[in-house]
Symmetry: C2
Subunit: 338 residues, 2 copies
């Protein structure tokens, strides 16, 4: 029967040593990805079963990294996950993802689940509702290394991989100014979220530097495809409507674009638009959407690398902040000059 | 210190009984979502720590459901996850998601991870490369209930929640015929994947019923945004190019649309296009994309409900197949008549 398949059987079939098979099954870093794949495939096919009790006593590791993200549906977060997975699988770890759905209470449950599932480290981007971080910090106090990415707790000493949101927003706004826009609106996320207030600051800084007065009527908290519709209609009905929109993310930018088109307002001729994320979405709209590329994949790679470092060797005192570069992807929605 | 916070402290602060707090912390089904949220929030804030050893001896459950999907970036799969989560959280379970990235070897590792993380049940949609299902079936043999969704193993007696892919593809193709298209191409997924061959059969069946000869030059295996580009260019350079494209998913349909537009071929006037999934994407393109709505959210809801049933009470012999209805969402990309 299947339970009688041994490591030796697998080794013989693949013409490799039993110790290689054994290490491959344990995802040992010395064994190549190819060999691990071959061993795992054959082990699955032959229904090889390790002596589970012995194994769990000897090796209580789960080789799993937990990830908590706000929403998987955002292209940005799915790019980050790809980066995390490529590093993790290469190093013999599996990745499990939990969604907070932007809710604090669910994030608390996610954190408990990472704990009770005994993952070996966590990569976390906090929800919009999260202002208290005890549920996350207590994981670290219990010995589970944590690296935050994109959205990190303000003012706490933690390991994090982030972008310079203020600079990226400054660059996006400056680009609108340089293409001739003078009345620039900003569709923002709730300003209690650190990245949202940073982007708002970058927007204001660009206006200031170019001597454009700040008009608070042109700043609206609207950070989804749905919310962008009303916000854009209201903006365009102002006595002095904007000639450009800088949106806090691509979904919001596309919601604004679709609304303007429904109002027969030409993009970019009447209103230029720039988003934030440069996801797959931004390339399929007509006109295509200019956006800030946050390099989600690289953010995932760097966050996973830092976490694996911490799993091997806990941080001694000082935590690390790693910045990922951003750049503007200029497409049709801001092409006013030509 | 924080370790001295007890269940009684939490009960007192919230003015509820200690037994309610205790059951809320265990996600007991008798306790309302609101109470659980309040208790969990306060417990996190006060850094309440249960006696971990006692708890794990008494209650070795993880209250976690594992999900294995091909790719999180597909809108369809993220809708399914939302449905799964809404049911699971309501019932006091957390959800952890693993991606196979359409690779068999990674799916094997995902399955091992669900096992070693002791999840209580699994919801699985298999990768394109998976033709052998031992790694999944052995989870069930080891006592972990499994429900497959969307992509289920062919010819095995399993619990599954699926759509009638053949009928949905038949309806999509028939719609193209009814709008006057006569030369209908099909961009397919690899036909070794069950849902791909079912959709191909549905396409052929519609042609046959309407007396349109099947032309194998018009069937190309191309199932991504990138692959659709070359496939569409080749199709349009045939001596007799198609006047419509039925694509196996929305990403592929949008890749075809963008390519046709780059070739200055009008959609839908010269070539009509219909996709499959009716995700968020299909509503933001110009023209908007007609598509088959697979109701991913409901699929997730039904799959999670069936799994929870199996966790409470294992299947006795007979497994269940549950069908989710589909319907056509008609948008601009097939609007030729008006």
């Amino acid at each position: 029967m299947s339970s009688q398949v041994t490591i030796k059987d697998i080794a013989k079939a693949l013409n490799i040593s039993a110790s290689t098979v054994s290490r491959a099954l344990k995802n040992h870093p010395d064994i190549s990805r190819e060999t691990k794949d071959a061993v795992n495939e054959l082990a699955a096919k032959l229904r090889y079963k390790p002596n589970a009790v012995a194994l769990s006593l000897k090796n209580s590791r789960t080789n799993t990294i937990g990830v908590i993200i706000p929403e998987v549906v955002h292209y940005f977060f799915s790019s980050v996950i790809s980066g995390i997975e490529d590093v993790a699988y290469e190093a013999g770890y599996n990745v499990m993802v939990c969604q907070s759905n932007e809710r604090y209470a669910r994030e608390v449950i996610n954190a408990q689940a990472l704990d009770s599932n005994r993952v070996e480290g966590a990569l976390i981007s906090v929800s919009k509702e999260t202002h208290d971080f005890n549920h996350l910090m207590s994981l670290e106090e219990n010995g589970m290394p944590i690296v935050f990415f994109d959205r990190a707790p303000e003012g706490l000493d933690v390991d994090k991989v982030i972008i310079d949101d203020r600079k990226a927003a400054y660059n996006a706004t400056r680009h609108l100014i340089e293409t001739g826009c003078k009345r620039i609106a900003h569709l923002a996320a709730p300003l209690t979220l650190g990245i949202a207030s940073e982007r708002f600051e970058g927007y204001k800084q660009a206006l200031k530097e170019y001597g454009i007065p700040f008009n608070e009527d042109w700043v609206v908290v609207a950070d989804s495809f749905e919310l962008a519709g009303d916000a854009t209609r209201n903006l365009m009905h102002l006595p002095s409507p904007p000639d450009a929109i800088f949106a806090v993310n691509d979904m919001t930018a596309i919601g604004a674009m679709k609304t303007l088109q429904r109002m027969s307002i030409a993009v970019p001729q009447k209103v230029a638009i720039i988003g934030f994320s440069a996801g797959f979405f931004s390339d399929i709209t007509t006109p295509t959407l200019s956006s800030v590329d946050q390099h989600g994949y690289e953010m995932g790679v760097e966050a996973a690398k830092l976490l694996l470092e911490r799993i091997e060797k806990p941080a001694e005192g000082k935590h690390k902040t790693c910045y990922i570069d951003t750049h503007l992807v200029l497409r049709e929605s801001t092409r006013r000059k030509s």
